[in-house]
Symmetry: C3
Subunit: 158 residues, 3 copies
């Protein structure tokens, strides 16, 4: 292969890798939401690195997978949990770390047969990621609360 051709192909592979890293982080973030929404607390915690940190305003930081799984499991009281994530924007540069900003709208419902009795709140998310031998993982989550609709009947988010 001549040098020009090798360079052209290497350049295309780097461009593909950036798009694939963003796609892999997109998959990670959807798994992140789906696992907790399905009450899979350990699988949720495993989307973090082993030394991962989850910061939710009013809760204080949770450090490591065991603490994170335990904190998330307070949502056990809700039959319906929806972490709806928007404006998910990744900063990726080909290295083994990345960051993201996003917005969360969370809907929690004690009894999905009574969908009108729900609590909705949300705010800005910030994420840090690390590429590990098992793939991308969340190294840090920070979440603020900017709005709320309905009543926090379980008193978990106030």
């Amino acid at each position: 292969m001549d040098a020009n051709l090798a360079k052209t192909i290497e350049d295309m592979q780097k461009r593909l890798q950036i798009l694939e890293d963003k796609d892999a982080l997109w998959t990670l973030m959807n798994r992140y939401c789906t696992e907790v929404d399905n009450h899979h607390w350990e699988a949720f915690a495993n989307t973090y690195t082993e030394d991962g940190v989850m910061e939710v305003e009013n809760w204080g930081p949770k450090r490591g997978r065991a603490e994170i799984a335990k904190a998330a499991s307070c949502e056990e009281v809700f039959q319906g949990v929806i972490h709806s994530i928007t404006n998910l924007h990744f900063e990726v540069d080909g290295s083994d770390t990345a960051t993201a900003t996003a917005y969360l709208t969370l809907y929690v419902t004690p009894d999905v047969k009574k969908p009108e009795a729900n609590y909705c709140w949300g705010g800005p998310y910030r994420f840090e990621y690390r590429r590990t031998p098992e793939g991308w993982r969340v190294a840090k989550q920070h979440l603020r609360k900017f709005f709320a609709i309905g009543e926090d009947t379980e008193g978990l988010f106030s």
Copy 2:
């Protein structure tokens, strides 16, 4: 072209194809929402395969494009319809079938000059897709209702 180079290029083409399949499904899903939100019931039904199935909790399954168009057309009574879709995650493997999970937040408004008189509800979506000669189509939709805000004045979703 030598064998190594041919292999390198074939590999890149497969990686590109995966990203393009996800992009095509993204386009399909946005068309899916836009057509129904614009009251284009037949165009909406045509985003399904001919034997497509639409399952909405409380409605029972609708089978085939004619039934799907008819079921969707009940939303005629709303001037404003917004199927807001988030956490759209595709499972794609290079074959002619694919699946997705997502969340729906639906806002329906009888008279958009009175935007405060709306009904909002949503829940988890599951999709199955098939690649057809006309491109990707929805083979099956399943939707649950987890939350609701406001009053279902038209009694369509209860």
Copy 3:
């Protein structure tokens, strides 16, 4: 490089470029929302072309970056501003113009320590873009209001 190989590589580069243009527009749209949500009125206006037009139903068109920055700055009264954007679908063809449709859900909160005192509204977005020497910019935004939840205590959106 033989002609077949050159053709194969050129084709792949075009396909990559389409995906990268969509990714760049995705980045632009997230910056568009983040800048205004962070009260960076000038940086927000700079996501437009110099002759950009921002149309918000009830507001009338704002033309050029100075008018756009001034109009956006009315949101100064809200500590919490979240432009949550969904169904973001780009029409891109390899040229220097592009369009998009999307939905907005906007949450504004005068005092984030009282997140329950917020106003939420939204509707369909349409965008036109132009590729400039600085990258993609918004040439035109059009936004309609289809739904509202809560009370517009500041009277800015009615």
